[in-house]
Amino acid sequence: MIQVQQLVKRYNKAERNAVDGISFDVEAGEFFALLGPNGAGKTTTISVLTTTIAPTSGTATIDGLDIVREASAVRRTVGIIFQRPSLDKNLTGEENVRFHAVLYGVYPYAPSHGLMPAAYREQVAELAAIVGIGDEIFAPIRTYSGGMSRKLEIVRSLIHRPRVLFLDEPTSGLDSPSRRALWSYLERVRRESNTTILLTTHYLEEAEQADRICIIDHGRVVSYGTPAAIKADLVEEFVLIDTAERDALRAELAQLRLPYSGDGPFRVELDGRGTHAVLKSIDTPLNVVQTHMPTLEDAYLEIVGRTDA
């Protein structure tokens, strides 16, 4: 559904590339997360993919459409929820939605809600019900809370039935109940319409819900795969052991075919083996045992910290 190859974006007068040659693929119907710290190049990537800024080099297609040569068709195919709310505060919720529907050519323009086609009114009512907006949809946006605004943006972004929905840090600035509610709405939307979702986030726990994650930092891909694969790839689980009789331990580790490194203390890779089983299999008396079992979060922070150096 989305193919990105060697994408590069350098802003005018910038000294380094904001996006520095990233590549990834997203399957149809997939929930894909771009994870990375602030300034990693997530929003820039989304802006290029949604054709609002031109790439410096590299190619990308969405549903087979080239983002540069077929920009207009791409825009019709995608929906976006921006990092910062982009509702017109002078208009009501429904007016914002109507404006969007007309801009995307879904319905012809009419100056009031009542004059819009019945199909439009039904669709709005239906989407509003999914996200839990009632009559407030006819109230001015300036009376909306942050969570309500986000809900309305979801309604708006779905009105033209996009095949791909981009969400650029959609939960930033929301409290936890709103955040949780937002996820359940999105999950429902995805189930019911088979929409491909590309999410950017700097929260690991949000990315962990995704089918696949692409971790980027400084505009480059750091890790890429399913949450489980990334975890296996990134999280190094090992146990650090030492003994008074190092030669004996060395011989025993070799005999047990346990991969190890170091010359005392020894670092034994767990690779999925249980700590207890490993320790139990060693007969040499140990005087140091340290387990290293980081969470995915620790691993993520480590990676992000490492590339900062």
């Binding site: 982009s86 017109d88 505060k89 801009l103």
Partner: protein
């Protein structure tokens, strides 16, 4: 059809915004009334009697054209505001042509300028500017053309502005000199050559002269007020409109994409 619908939606949004913004509605009306009421009346009282020339009417026609032209120019520049409160993202990721966006904006701001023009006409009647029904009817198409022309100028200025702060700083420089170069309050029939050149370069001059042509064609003055024939004004306005829109849109779209 889709593009036309989108143009109408963008224009409608501007009108709705005006109707919901009381402060702006009031300030839109107060300035022209001060110009005509205070400046026009005092000039008339000071010099009008001696010259047999109706200065009040002269200022009235000037301010009418200037207000309409400037109002729609500044309205279009409000796209900058949309950029700052992130609404422009919503417009710019939509599949409609960039030309439609700007055409919709020009149309909307022209519609927004119209009630202002109407209020000035009513005020003119109240303070005794000669205004027959024929003159009002003649002014209708003129007013429409001037607002659309002003909107096109707004597009050109907008395309070169990075943010709203720049807009508020630069606006006095591009608007105030034009008040005098276009002869809104002052006769510009006889200008020294450098000022004459500057005056001919000021787009507002043609809006003002165009309107005076239409007005004085029906209520002639003791001396010939318009500077150039109405056809000439119309041709220049048409040419400038095309140039402003084409260059302004191209620059604006490029600036949006190549940040």
């Amino acid at each position: 059809m889709h593009e036309l619908s989108a143009v109408l939606a963008i224009a409608h949004r501007d009108v709705v915004k005006l109707l919901r913004d009381r402060t702006r509605m009031i300030s839109d009306f107060v300035f022209p009334l001060i110009f005509i009421g205070v400046l026009g009346s005092s000039l008339q009282a000071g010099f009008g009697g001696a010259t047999q020339f109706n200065i009040l009417t002269f200022v009235f026609t000037g301010v009418l054209a200037q207000t309409l032209w400037q109002s729609s120019a500044m309205g279009v520049i409000s796209l900058i505001e949309d950029r700052e409160n992130d609404f422009s993202q919503e417009i710019f990721v939509s599949p409609i042509s960039r030309y439609s966006i700007l055409v919709g904006k020009v149309l909307g701001e022209s519609l927004v300028a119209l009630p202002q023009g109407f209020a000035i006409l009513v005020f003119g009647l109240v303070i005794g500017v000669p205004l027959s029904l024929a003159a009002v009817l003649a002014l209708v198409p003129v007013v429409l053309i001037i607002t659309v022309f002003g909107g096109a100028f707004g597009v050109l200025v907008l395309s070169r502005l990075p943010n709203r702060r720049a807009a508020t700083q630069i606006f006095p420089f591009i608007m105030l000199p034009q008040f005098f170069l276009a002869g809104v309050f002052n006769p510009i029939g006889e200008l020294p050559p450098p000022l004459e050149i500057a005056s001919r370069l000021a787009p507002m001059r043609y809006a003002v002269d165009f309107l005076r042509n239409a007005y004085y064609g029906i209520h002639p003055e003791v001396v010939e007020v318009p500077l150039a024939p109405i056809g000439m004004n119309l041709a220049i306005i048409g040419g400038l409109f095309a140039v402003f829109i084409a260059i302004g849109t191209a620059l604006f779209v490029r600036a949006e994409q190549n940040r």
